[in-house]
């Protein structure tokens, strides 16, 4: 069932909680509402489920205005599952799920065999069949939430509204419940609108998203369109990185070391990192948090170290993607090394393309600089150059580089020398 929201506005105690909200949800899609705390997500769900009435604006459910439904008819079309609620302790699971049949029953009408069959089916779909004689009070949070979804399904709705259905649940239950909802979307044509706190869950499950910020739509559309580094950083006021999910390619949000927090008093000493291939992300964050001035080189564009350095605004030397380091970049790298007090060679995978980063370390040693060589993984096979890399590493060690086995040791050593 298609849902249209037009110019929805809601005011609470003179404060506009929602302003001019408009969006469409196509039939049979999984639609997500995301946004920071206090952005109006739950209010929006309450307006859609008619617990609250809007100040102005219109919600259409199918071809009819939401307001034109009687309470009973609405319950036949729309079911709602909210965050874990404690209530109805003494009822059995089956009794609770049977309450989902209420809109279909007359005042003095007893439940028919058909109602029992529908309840049984809802219990089966949600994996609650073995729980049916248990009391609600005896269930775990995850089980209780599954029962709530079973009750919603017993209403045989066309639309399912969810308000953070997996809050307080562990990652296993989160997946179980959202997988179930997604399956119903795909197989039964159920239209789902869900508030989701977790952006990655939203991206993983939803066909469409609205991003709310202070009661207004900050972005709407497909997850690719909404979950961009720019949108999320702006609305949540935090440093994040959006990268494709390793298997599905859907946008995945990762936290980044914060850029805005006032850093501890800046130390004057500068460290140059020779990095690449995802070897130095953590190093960059930790050293920056510790207050050192950092520079990085040479990184290929698109490399995760490159992303990290860029998001931290570090001075860096970058090379075109998948290309060998050119003499020009090497020279820039050496210039940064000359400004640094200390050089750290991260545990980078070595290929023909980045041998020059090792040579840069040798140059630094030759110029009399301290070079730390981080080797956390003794048996790590990271030389892809038929021995040339190994030879250079051996040369670096002979040249006086200090070999260090853990990051913690490195930080201590740096703290002592700088």
């Amino acid at each position: 069932m298609r849902i249209t929201v037009q110019n929805l506005t809601f005011t609470y105690a003179d404060r506009k909680v929602l302003k001019e909200i408009c969006f469409d949800v196509e039939s049979g899609t999984f639609f997500g509402i995301i946004g920071p705390n206090g952005s109006g997500k739950t209010t929006l769900i309450k307006l859609l489920s008619r617990v609250l009435r809007p100040g102005s604006g219109l919600v259409e459910l199918g071809e009819r205005a939401l307001n034109s439904y009687s309470q009973n008819d609405l319950a036949k079309v729309m079911a709602v599952v909210v965050q874990d609620t404690f209530a109805g302790y003494l009822f059995s699971v089956e009794e609770i799920v049977m309450m989902g049949r209420t809109p279909y029953l007359g005042r003095f009408q007893a439940e028919t065999l058909q109602d029992y069959a529908i309840v049984r089916q809802a219990l089966e779909l949600t994996g609650c069949l073995e729980l049916r004689q248990r009391k609600i009070a005896e269930l775990s949070g995850g089980e209780r939430q599954r029962v709530m979804i079973a009750r919603a399904l017993a209403q045989q709705p066309k639309v399912l509204l969810l308000d953070e259905p997996t809050a307080h649940l562990d990652i296993g239950y989160q997946q179980e419940i959202l997988d179930l909802v997604k399956r119903l979307c795909l197989t039964e044509g159920l239209t789902v609108i869900s508030v989701l706190h977790d952006l990655n869950l939203a991206s993983y499950y939803c066909n469409g998203l609205v991003l709310l910020a202070q009661g207004e739509i900050a972005a709407a559309g497909s997850p690719d369109h909404v979950l961009t580094t720019e949108n999320i950083s702006r609305v949540y006021k935090t440093a994040i990185l959006v990268s494709p999910h390793p298997l599905l390619g859907t946008p995945t949000v990762s936290l980044l070391p914060s850029n805005r927090a006032s850093l501890p008093q800046q130390k004057k000493s500068r460290i140059h990192l020779l990095a690449g291939g995802g070897s130095a992300g953590e190093l960059m964050r930790d050293l920056r948090e510790a207050g050192y001035l950092l520079s990085v080189g040479v990184l290929n564009v698109g490399d995760s170290d490159w992303e990290a350095a860029r998001s931290l605004d570090l001075p860096l030397v970058s090379e075109a993607p998948f290309s060998a380091i050119t003499a020009e970049r090497h020279a820039q790298n050496l210039r940064l090394i000359q400004q640094a007090n200390v050089v750290v060679l991260a545990e980078i995978p070595i290929g023909q393309g980045n041998l020059l980063n090792l040579r840069a370390a040798l140059t630094a040693l030759a110029e009399g600089r301290t070079v730390y060589l981080l080797e956390e993984h003794l048996n790590l096979q990271r030389d892809f150059t038929q021995g040339e890399g190994q030879e250079l590493l051996a040369e670096i060690k002979l040249g006086g580089a200090i070999v260090i086995n853990t990051k913690a040791c490195l930080y201590r050593a740096l703290a002592e020398t700088l």
Partner: protein
């Protein structure tokens, strides 16, 4: 509860109720054999073939005009209080709620006290003055509390409970003040406040029965809604319940039932609080079973409490409210300890 269990439960309760009515009518200062009692009742109910020739007129009068109305009134009052109690507990989702929670009883008590006070003051007196004043007082108190707690057309549970408590305390102070000035009638007021069924006749039954029967029917009709309201008001909305309407209807109905009952019986405590909890332990939370079962058990309980009240120190009578508290409280503690369970709705 399974269907067969329900059938057995209600069969047992009905049989117990019938036996209670007959036995309680038989017991008294003049002991009348149960079979004689039964024969008198049946013949009065229009079964002329029942042989009553051997029974004296006096005995017949004791059974039919004195004891039976008192017993039946006990059944009605007990059932009303227990039914109203379980309705309030479910509606307010509060295990401490009882028919008196939201000030209805204090209103009735104030009304009755004023009536007693006035009749002493200037001889102002007319028939059924006390029940009429009590009933009016109860309704006035209820509507005051109801409107006091109304916020934007809705009645939040917490506001309702608080308004009830505040109005009750205020009215208690009014009663205390009147008692200070009541002089000799203080005993009358005290007896009314403790609750009792003495000197009640068919007239009182006629007075309260219509309200009670109407109330019973309405409340039973909304048993399923009460179940769903236990899940919370938003959840009930999502399941198609017209929450505001249902809440208001049930509040008014349960208060009316309480007001009618209290106006003829005085303040009989404990029945409305304890019977629903005790029944719930057996019947489970489903109001379709809980409501009628509570009503039956409440009726049976109050009749036996009244039997104790009028026999234990005969010929003196003890206010039945004292007996219900004396039996009810220890029994409830026993249930709590035996079940070792939290009291939940």
């Amino acid at each position: 509860m399974k269907r067969s269990q329900k059938t057995w439960l209600f069969a047992a309760l009905f049989v117990t109720l019938l036996l209670t009515v007959i036995l309680a009518t038989a017991v008294g200062a003049v002991a009348i054999p149960a079979d004689v009692t039964l024969r008198i009742i049946l013949s009065q109910l229009g079964m002329p073939w029942i042989e009553t020739g051997d029974i004296g007129r006096n005995t017949e009068a004791i059974v039919w005009s004195l004891r039976l109305p008192r017993v039946l009134l006990g059944v009605l009052i007990g059932a009303s209080l227990a039914l109203a109690g379980s309705t309030f507990q479910g509606l307010l989702r509060n295990p401490l709620a009882d028919p008196f929670t939201i000030g209805v009883s204090s209103g009735a008590a104030t009304g009755a006290t004023i009536a007693i006070f006035l009749s002493q003051l200037n001889g102002l007196h007319f028939p059924h003055m006390i029940p009429l004043f009590a009933f009016t007082g109860a309704l006035l108190a209820f509507f005051f509390v109801y409107n006091l707690s109304k916020i934007g057309g809705q009645i939040p549970v917490v506001t309702l409970l608080l308004s009830g408590v505040v109005v009750s305390s205020f009215l208690s102070a009014v009663i205390s003040l009147l008692m200070v000035f009541a002089g000799e009638n203080i005993k009358g007021i005290f007896f009314w406040l403790s609750g009792g069924l003495m000197m009640r006749s068919w007239t009182e039954i006629g007075f309260v029965a219509p309200y009670l029967l109407l109330g019973f029917c309405l409340i039973f009709a909304y048993a399923r809604e009460l179940n769903i309201l236990l899940l919370g008001e938003e959840a009930a909305l999502h399941l198609g319940v017209r929450v505001d309407f249902t809440k208001k209807l049930l509040l008014v109905t349960a208060s009316l039932v309480t007001a009618a009952a209290v106006s003829v019986s005085g303040m009989i405590g404990f029945v409305g609080l304890i019977i629903p909890h005790a029944v719930r332990m057996v019947s489970g939370p489903d109001h379709r079973v809980l409501l009628p079962a509570s009503a039956l058990v409440g009726g049976i309980f109050l009749v036996w409490a009244d039997v104790v009240a009028r026999t234990v120190m005969a010929p003196r009578e003890i206010p039945v409210g004292i007996i219900t508290a004396f039996i009810g409280a220890p029994f409830f503690i026993y249930l709590l300890r035996k079940k070792k369970k939290e009291i939940r709705l």
